[in-house]
Amino acid sequence: MYASLYRALYRIRRLEEETARIYPTDRIKSPVHLSIGQEAVAVGVCATLQPQDVVFGTYRGHALYLAKGGSMKAMVAEMFGKVTGCARGKGGSMHLIAPEVGVMGTSAVVGTTIPNAVGYAYALRYRESDSLVVSFFGDGATEEGVFAESLNFAALKQLPILFVCENNQYAIHTHQARRQATTDICARVTAHGIPAERITNNDVLRLFERSQAITREIRAGHGPRFLEVMTYRWFEHVGPNKDFQLGYRSLEEAQPWIESDQVVRLANLVDRPVREQIEREVTEEVLDAFRFAEASPFPNATELDADVFKEEAACSLI
């Protein structure tokens, strides 16, 4: 299991490092919100999911998309604006999608996918499926009214959904304490009747363990659950650089998070040969993905008008 978690973490890390590295060449025609430092959240949770389970995320969605099994080639091609991208080049880094593996969307407007996830969970319950939905969002999203509304409805209908708050303590450059009257997000959640717990230290193994237990309960029909995972963003909010020089946060603050890097931690838990093989394979996969993106064509002009509407009805109702 360490090996597969390490592979998942390392895949995301390498992909994003490569993204940051080539960003200055302007081949990526899209803003990028890197997850470096936060990979553990998507990985720890998604490792406990089934392929038919569904996730919704945010513009900071590379990690989630990859952790849930999205094609790396299609993702890099999407960032390059190529027609082979997962959204045919129309969505960019902020609108990743992979319905074939249950990635049902990521949005650039904070908080918007939370109720979408709830609705999907409603449909699963309605269809008596034993799948579940996981909704990923940041600490900032919990300030949007839609968060409280969504919690209430999910709890009222006892839906099969896990809410995961990736608390990196910042919304862009503003610390949580300057935006939230109390920083105890779990207390706000339990007040809606949803059991909530916090992982305080980005610990991927602890998260994996808790997520496994929690998703089991959700599948058993015990209603929604909430997980807050404290984590840290190493790079700037958007873009390929570090930003400690801006002064809104200090390198000292980041230090403990960097020292407890889950990628390094898991690397050390995997036997050297296995680990080296993983690293070779992942590096090859990453370079392949960039080569694929580079070699792929841009959409042609006729694509502009395609897919505003779905033309034929999927079911013949009448």
């Binding site: 045919r88 129309k90 709830v118 609705g119 449909a123 509304e149 409805f153 013949s316 009448i318």
Partner: protein, 366 residues
């Protein structure tokens, strides 16, 4: 991850020649919903108060009992999240119908409607579809006032990725609602409280009135009247006032506002040379502006033409009846405007009120 259920009911063309049964607009909506739910278990219905004793003016009456609380349910007061929830359901292959007792309340749902529903299919490269119907009602009369009277459909016409329909007869109410439910895209279904009281022939079977087809509701040669939503019956009444003074108006009901079927309007305007668009909302950047702009783009240089918009007065809707009366166009003011256009000058003429042509009046409390 879910696949669509495929129910076995066939599409039928309504046999308009055998239309002997009369239903109210409310009953037509109820029947359409019932038939759709009967035909396809993926159709579900929710919104504030859909399952309460008033049952959204009766349009959802009995459906909670018939289909159970998992398919028909009232919601918390959470328009934003419930719209997002509807979108999530649609992503999962359900066909939700989300009902709002007032169009004004959609302002709380704009983020999900404009930023998510309208865009998902395109921004995800065609990977998803959103079969979603949003029903909402425009209020009028008896002091509905500022926040319970708006006809804001032009917002939805503005945004690619949404369809908009505002049926004006029981026949179209049923056929358009079935078409909307049948559609794999988000459809804004616009109702008017006054139209709810109207009665008309409605076939018993399932049928659809498809997107993008307008209807000539009365023919004439002298002036074209386009009436949207509750202004359609006002235009038909105006036609009678005009006929009495020898002016023959053609009346068109766009039915679907997006996609908009401009062709018959252009043809009629080309024939009559005069076009009045009567909107059930404000004129500025409204549906009427769009229709005039399209007609101008098409006919300028081809046909000498006079055009005119009518709509809500450019103020907030007042509650007091004396001002509310001035706020809305009505059959008589429409007739007056049409005559002015025909004569090419202001005549000041407003016909004497004919009680037989008076619109349905709504009396309180609400």
């Amino acid at each position: 991850m879910l696949t669509h259920l495929t129910p076995g009911i066939q599409q039928e063309t309504p046999r308009t020649e055998t239309l002997t049964r009369e239903l109210s607009y409310v009953e037509a909506l109820r029947e359409a919903t019932d038939q759709a739910m009967e035909a396809d278990p993926s159709v579900i219905l929710f919104g504030l108060d859909v399952d309460d004793p008033k049952a959204i003016q009766g349009t959802t009456r009995g459906l909670a009992e018939k289909y159970g609380p998992a398919r028909v349910f009232g919601t918390p007061l959470s328009e934003d999240a419930m719209t997002g929830t509807a979108i999530g359901m649609a992503l999962a292959g359900l066909r939700p119908i989300h009902v709002h007792i007032r169009m004004d309340f959609l302002m709380l749902a704009m983020n999900q409607l404009v930023n998510v529903a309208a865009k998902s299919r395109y921004m995800y490269g065609g990977k998803v579809a959103l079969p979603l119907v949003i029903r909402s009602m425009i209020g009028k009369s008896w002091g509905q006032g500022a926040q319970h009277s708006q006809g804001l459909y032009s917002f939805f016409m503005h945004v690619p990725g949404l369809k908009v329909v505002a049926p004006t007869t029981p026949f179209d109410a049923k056929g358009c609602l079935l078409a909307a439910i049948h559609d794999d895209n988000p459809v804004m279904f616009v109702e008017h409280r006054i139209l709810h009281f109207h009665k008309g022939p409605v076939p018993t079977e399932s049928y659809t009135v498809q997107p993008g087809r307008s209807r000539i509701t009365a023919t004439g040669e002298d002036v074209t009247l386009v009436g949207i939503s509750a202004m359609q019956p006002e235009c038909l009444a105006a036609r009678h006032y005009l006929a009495a003074i020898g002016i023959h108006a053609e009346v068109i009901d766009p039915i679907w506002l997006s996609p908009l079927d401009i062709e018959p309007i252009v043809e009629s305007a080309e024939k009559t040379g005069r076009l009045v668009v009567v909107d059930n909302g404000w004129s500025n950047c409204g549906a009427g502006a769009e229709i005039l702009a399209q007609v101008a783009e098409r006919l300028m240089g081809i046909r000498d033409l006079r055009v005119r918009r009518m709509g809500f007065a450019p103020v907030t809707c007042p509650t007091t009846p004396v001002l509310e009366e001035l706020f809305y166009p009505n059959a008589r003011t429409i007739a007056g405007a049409a005559r002015d256009l025909v004569e090419g000058q202001p005549t000041g003429w407003i016909p004497e009120e004919n009680p037989a042509l008076r619109g349905i009046a709504f009396k309180g409390p609400f």
